[in-house]
Symmetry: D2
Subunit: 341 residues, 4 copies
């Protein structure tokens, strides 16, 4: 950690900062600059807040040099993490292909789309039972009924199920029935919820918040991991910018950046980035070419009738075509797609 | 609601959209443009999702004309809302001045700062007992112990207490003991929590999410109100932009915009916008001049020793000076400050 | 164009708007909604400003339905544009690979890197002679001397040269000597400069402004095209967001979006998006997989000694490796790379 | 300047960086941290680019400690700058009130509005003769004819004239006839233009770019000042964010931040921030309360008929009312408004 003093900081203020550093059993190193002093701190500072020193008189700025996350940090875990989801591995050579409807709408519907997705090459089934809707007047999901339908669909197809948890109330039931617990963008810093899923061993798909920095996102992963659950996958789904033609701006550089900073697998969600069907294929191919470990794609037997997010849901036939295109890129990247059984 | 068809939309696609509108007991009006058709929908569309039509073939764009919020909407509630907080009214002529430490750090400390703030002109006491920290390794608050200390401080000073709720688990205890429940920026779209506070009658201070639009923010208020609690105050605390010199960008136009769109009171939080003491006075004055109904300001007896957010906490003397400056602007605006007793 | 009236708009105000529409020889269509009226306008509105009606009393909002650009619009030019750059075609099956140093630093240096880049598979040479630097104290480029060196490098290698024009003063000399005139992000809305290059027939590489929407960008292209030069290539180089780990956020969805909205070729600049060498390979692969028509990459014989942008410049060996990776993705996309002669 | 080495940087890489520092006659100070080394640089680094070291192997990050601007920096010029504009002073106790139409539309019109604005309390006349329009098909301004009309209006009223320069071609004519040369947001980093106005002595109103950081903005001011013209006023006109209800987000904290970083006067433009008349009064009051040195406001005798920006133009009567409100805030701030003669 580095403390930049004000141009006019007095000798007394510098001394005071130095004493504060020493009080914490850390070692200060002073750099006497032309116009101001800078004080480096050496020692174990990971768990210290930068803001601890910012309030001190004479301090202009505090700069963190080491990342504040440990468990999610590649520096302390150089190999890629492989996350076991039933009999699949996420983060290895095979790409994770999570597909299915935005909302679970009925038992028959979810089983039917699950079979279709499996035939098309998906290796996991996504489907929302608890839906975070901007409007309280919109459909809020089938809730635990929906979870039961997903379980049925898994029984029929063998596909592990990925679904969003919005309330700590259901964490035990999710841990029992669900294969991957999704934490949505809106809840990325719902620390109460993060801690709750951290106390299970169920794999977690942690979506990036609407305007979360990489560091905040990795700190959210750290919340889960520090409770004991290291099965975390990071999901980029687009960030908010000034552009309105797309629903969000897919930050493709998240793939190489996270691969450098962290050992956790990275999944891309082109559906929520695009907000509309027509941009999904291009972004999916880009995601695989950038080195992502998987895709999560919204599909629906009849998007027009979907209870939510129809505009960004692919039809099964469009999904077939997408898989064909993705297969070519995967091959060029020495990655494999799930074998269609 | 307005549906813009694709340039190449077929007659069949237009017909299909029209039938879908009529199926919902709404009335379509077709505008045949030079290059494309546009279909207006008349009838009750507030509770309809724009996205319902976006998935339909031949549809280019769906544009909402009426705001999707009802209870928070000034159109249906033209007079300003006045929120009763114990014996104070927020949203009337008197400004709400909420002051106190970022974190409650001890009984003695909180009582002492509460007395000092009251003497300086605050009419509510803020203080965090449950702290949403970016790092799981940072101090997480004194939790229910902290709430008890706030209650003691209220007993000593008569100041109503404002404090953040992060978990539904404590909603009953908050409803019993706390005067204003704060929902933090990170939880603005934690719908589970919004519904829970919506089922109490305790006034809620709803902070704007880091990158929430006005509409999303008012929809979050609508979540609370639609559960039966109409005592909602909106708190602008800065939004996230590319600028890093300040912690957040205070959106001063939020005051006139919200005053137009909604009848709910608007409180400004200059502390979290600035992130540093030195910009707080200017922004506080601006907030009052823009027409805000109150301020929430972090203060600490000794910011350097604060357990959190010291850099943006004013000392009691700085707060005195701030109140002097704010008083002049309040007077120019025909607003009053709490009488110092 | 659609005019949304205020909820409380009077009959007189509606009448006034209708008269204004008719005065322009356009046809109004009224949609009488439950709470407000909406007026559609049919006729030729492309060259009309939305803001023309926004100032009228009783008008709440004006919404444009048709894109305001014509010449850059795919709707009126369905086939892809192919831009001839000497003996190359940009926008066809072969990818444009523009490589070279940020700044031209000397004749020997530019010739040497040009030969090396050609051998590695580039088909155009980039190099800055006029440099837009944030600081007036930084090196501003070799100016016309640098252009002469680029011309020499073209003579030696046959590679067309791509270089930035910052001032109208040099437009004639650029038109005479340069093969592709680059307009930088900072000058995307320097209309004086856009009009000047629009009066030449030299191909233009138009970079997206730091926070330009697609529409503003295409309108900038329209400025060039409406002066008579239709040889415009669009270059996505990352947009500004809150994230600071990368220099800019590469908006990968720009590729499919621009391919839908426009017929102009799309080039991706991973160097300025990344700001650092290590993220360039992943983004380059993603760009090609998304369907981009080319890449522009900064390279330097010894990045550490580069006069500018060394951190984001690849060494020739790194560029060789990049081309190998890109070749695989190009093949998967049925695109070809320049033949190495 | 501080150089943060990679965690795995070798001793050789550290040595190499140190040698590079010494080669520039600067002094390195090494801080040996637990996980990595940090190297402080002392000496004159203002004119050095941070990026000089970023390309070096083993370097993780380079952090600038001192601001890269000198002439605009308050550290080297502690007193407020006062800019003389004819017989007015900007930056002193009297507020600058620049008012007038977006575009100059005719001699009679500009003289008439100038008289009206003067009577209402403005002390400068704004009006655009060269208009930066997003569309090439929109009205581009009356150009030099418009300048002549402004000059006439000055002759009639004595009000100094403020108008935008878009092309270096007219810099001499502007220097001769115009009192304040405005550089628009789109041209904030048009360095060619900045240097040209820097070679005059005419006061410059430098608008902040759409997404410019404070540092980039002050560096743009530095471009002008380093050419010899120190008469620079900074104009905040809102930045681009995700919010679309307002045209731009007015960054009110720009006032205290710029007052800390720089000695140059700060003017606020509420018209372009709001984009609509109804938010202008609140923001104008806020600007003065925050400590701004002036306002620039668009007005029009009949906004509905304005050739540009009518929606955000106040009528003369609305402007009268605004001045009344602003006067109260100015008084509370111990600032004066121009005396109405």
């Amino acid at each position: 950690m580095i403390i930049v003093m004000d141009i006019n900081a007095t000798a007394g203020q510098v001394k005071h900062v130095i004493e504060n550093i020493e009080k914490r059993d850390l070692t200060p190193v002073i750099i006497e600059g032309q116009s101001r002093n800078v004080i480096g701190i050496t020692g174990e500072t990971t768990q210290m807040s930068m803001r601890d020193f910012e309030a001190t008189d004479g301090v202009s700025e505090v700069i963190r040099v080491s990342a504040p996350y440990k468990l999610a940090n590649r520096a302390f875990h150089p190999e890629d993490s492989h996350i076991q989801v039933r009999d699949r591995i996420v983060g290895g050579q095979e790409l994770a292909i999570m597909a299915g409807p935005c909302s679970v709408e009925g038992e028959e519907e979810i089983i039917s789309i699950a079979k279709r997705m499996k035939a098309a090459g998906a290796n996991m089934l996504r489907g929302g039972a608890f839906k975070p809707r901007t409007s309280p007047y919109s459909f809020q999901g089938l809730e635990m009924e929906g979870i039961k339908m997903l379980v049925k669909a898994r029984e029929e197809t063998g596909l592990p199920i990925v679904t969003e948890l919005m309330s700590k109330d259901y964490v035990d039931e999710f841990a029992e029935h669900v294969d991957v617990i999704q934490i949505g963008a809106r809840n990325m810093q719902n620390y109460d919820l993060l801690k709750a899923v951290g106390r299970t061993q169920t794999p977690v798909l942690l979506k990036r918040g609407m305007s979360a920095t990489y560091e905040e996102w990795l700190m959210a992963a750290e919340y889960i991991m520090s409770e004991g659950n290291s099965n975390v996958m990071l999901c980029e789904r687009g960030i908010r910018t000034f552009e309105t033609e797309t629903r969000n701006c897919l930050d493709i550089q998240a793939v190489p950046v996270l691969n450098k900073l962290s050992h956790l697998p990275v999944i891309i969600d082109p559906s929520h980035a695009a907000g509309t069907r027509e941009y999904i294929a291009a972004t999916s191919r880009a995601a695989v070419a950038a080195g992502a470990d998987g895709l999560i794609i919204e599909t629906h037997a009849c998007p027009e009738d979907a209870w939510s997010d129809g505009a960004q849901s692919l039809t099964p036939d469009e999904f077939d075509k997408l898989m064909e295109e993705v297969a070519k890129i995967a091959k060029a990247m020495d990655r494999t797609l799930p074998e269609v059984k």
